[in-house]
Amino acid sequence: MSALSLLSILVLQGGTVHTADGPPLEGASILVVDGRIQAVGEVAVPPGAEVIDARGLVITPGLIESHTRLGLVEIDMVDATRDHDAAGPDPVRAAFRAVDALNPDSDVIPVQRARGLTTAIAWPTGGLVSGQGVAFDLDGGPPVSARVGMVVALGGRGDGSRGESLERLRELLADARAWRGSEAAYDRNQLRTLSASRADLAALVPVLDGKLPLVVHADRRSDIRATLALAAEEKVRVILAGAAESWLDAPAIAQAGVPVIVDPIDNLPSTFDRTRVRDDLATRLAAAGVTVILSTFETHRARTLRQAAGNAVRAGLDPALALRAITRNPAEVFGFSDRGRIAPGQVAHLVAWTGDPFELASAARYVIINGRVQPTEHRQRQLFDRYRRLPGPTTP
């Protein structure tokens, strides 16, 4: 009793719980102790617990936006607020870490959180090897993981051949291999010339070890095949992103165990790499057994993630798979598998919705991150309040 009372205890009582871990539970309760889920189902309310009446609400794991620049940009066209691109002439920026630029106090974050996002992965952009992504919870706390993957951009360039991109990438990995274990010789200038800086080569070592996945942006089938071949030859982990034409090779992608991050809304042949894009890309990948992650690839509109999932369902994806694709799948693929499900032991990232979470009519009534109910205030809501009544007559 006395020990318990020192803890922060939260009970969500009587909702429909979609766990991303099995069939939905009707009238289930969730016990959260000190930020972690302790029990799901029949729960006795401990004394001193904060109780949320969740009857009539639909509870899901907090949504995870897996591909965003959230926290790295405030206003896109205000240059000094953009921190996602290391820029410069060198296309290799492996050492660049998004975490070093991340602003957990960004005004953009609470706007997304109010629509049910609890975790995001922010990625660098630009160049061939853009740098390393960071996973973070949307409660302003420390990052979940300062290093979840290394971004690589393949495909049509306009300033040279895509073949050169692949060649450069292979050379980089070979040089990182040469550098590893020969650091002292390198420092004494006794190693052959390497194609990247010491910091970039060091950053690639976890990739060689299979500890850090390469997140490869590729749309055209030939680039997707090249990515799979690279993963097999170099024995590195890859995750495909974008992947417009990936449905053409879905079985091979499934066989290789390569997850795919898909925007289920983007069905346009906007480049020659995407002429065979389809509305039902996610559906086809999932049917072949590929681990699918859905993403908006957006920042200020990351809050439309649930709409993206709803559109994937509209295009044939099973709703339970669609929910997994924005909760459990990204958590497991990016190595923070204590998130993304509603189960004992999981970090308590929960959203209580007024209805079907994908439906535009539903609102996120409660957003809980690390066991704490998050404030619903944000700048836009304050502007709404300020202008709910107009200040007075204005005459043009």
């Binding site: 206003i75 809304i265 069905n267 906007s270 002429t275 200020h300 439906e359």
Partner: protein
Amino acid sequence: MPATRRRAGLVLLALALTACGASSGAKPPGPPPLVPAIAAPPGPFTHDPAPAPAVLIHGATLLTGSHLVPRIERGWLRLRDGLITDIGAGDPPAAAEGEEVVDATGRFVTPGLIDTHSHLGVYPQPGVAAHSDGNEATSPVTAGLKVAESFWPQDPAIQRAVRGGVTTIQVLPGSANLMGGRSVVLKLHPAREVEAMRFPGAPEGLKMACGENPKRVYGDRRSLPSTRMGSLAAMRERFIAARRYRQRWAAWRAKFSDEAAATEPPPDRDLTLETLADVLDGKILVHIHCYRADEMLQQLRLAAEFGYRVRSFHHAVEAYKIRDVLRAQDVSVSTWADWYGFKIEADDAIEENLALLAEAGVRGILHTDSPLGIQRMNQEAAKAFFAGTQAGVTVSEAEAIRWLTANPAWALGIEARTGTLEAGKMADVVIWDHHPLSVYARATRVYIDGRLRHDADAPGPAWSDFEVGR
């Protein structure tokens, strides 16, 4: 107004064509015409000159877009010769001979959706530089350009928009220029040329732009405008010139009531000033790209200075701050549901914008400016609608439907022809398998001018030649 400049132009053309007998009037003296007598190509070209079929749709919930009867449960409507000829509730009439009967029980029917802000065909797919035809960003005032002359009817995004229930769009030049050119209103038919898609009788619009874009594009080149005051001054100067231009023409016409018998040549035509003169005459509707509340008020003052009306502010993410003024002046607002933050003039967007406008009696319009957004306009309206209701704003389902239909029709000056389900209007009709404000709603059938342009159960070939063999 006995004669317009356009008629004057036709007269000159007729004079030039007298050699081939096009004019019955007396042959004017002088040298032979400089313009050779070449016939324009016949047309416009359509893919199916056959008349539109007769269709009876019944059993559906009709969301009419009209104020009077916004919703009809178990309704029916008849399409014939490209028009809605009859609409009612309850048991449908007996089918006429040759009439296709569509059982839409459990489904929803709306008017075809209308996007007031599209760059389809001028920034087409794929987005290669050679296709980039939407901004003549070489001079800040290019009001005389016709965006129709940039339009590529093979844009693969056109058919995708139709699959989303869109039947009519206004194609606008981009916002690099203060006055970018004349818009065109199109029906989304498969076509070999833009002329076959033109909405018959729709007025043209003038695309204007204030704020960041023109000052960035030209300021970066160290030319005018590099500031907002530069932008306003440039606009004002052109309208001053347009006023004089209009006076010159009026004087010439007053002098020569019979233009054919004029003994002095008419004033030189200037396409920019001609367009602005048409704005001053109210023949061209003004559409202004403008984000900030203060800049919209500034534009309304400029309009008052020269005596023209603003038909719609586009993007207008701060319209909620001046909704009283917009209501008083009857200016419509074309905006998104939730776009913001891409530039500082879009920083104060709120999701309740359209709902607050509706509550204040402003004609709100859900526009897209996007080949992706145009495929799910109904979802975007839904977000704006539910954001409003959840915040306690008074806004109805009927109004949300009007954001997609009747209100954009008004902004384009075509409200007498389309935008509601009413007898006598064009048969621009969408059947949805769910309520259109649901994320799961798919347009199962889309009729444009009574022709079935999309059938989810029998998807036809790609319209775009670009997609052939790909």
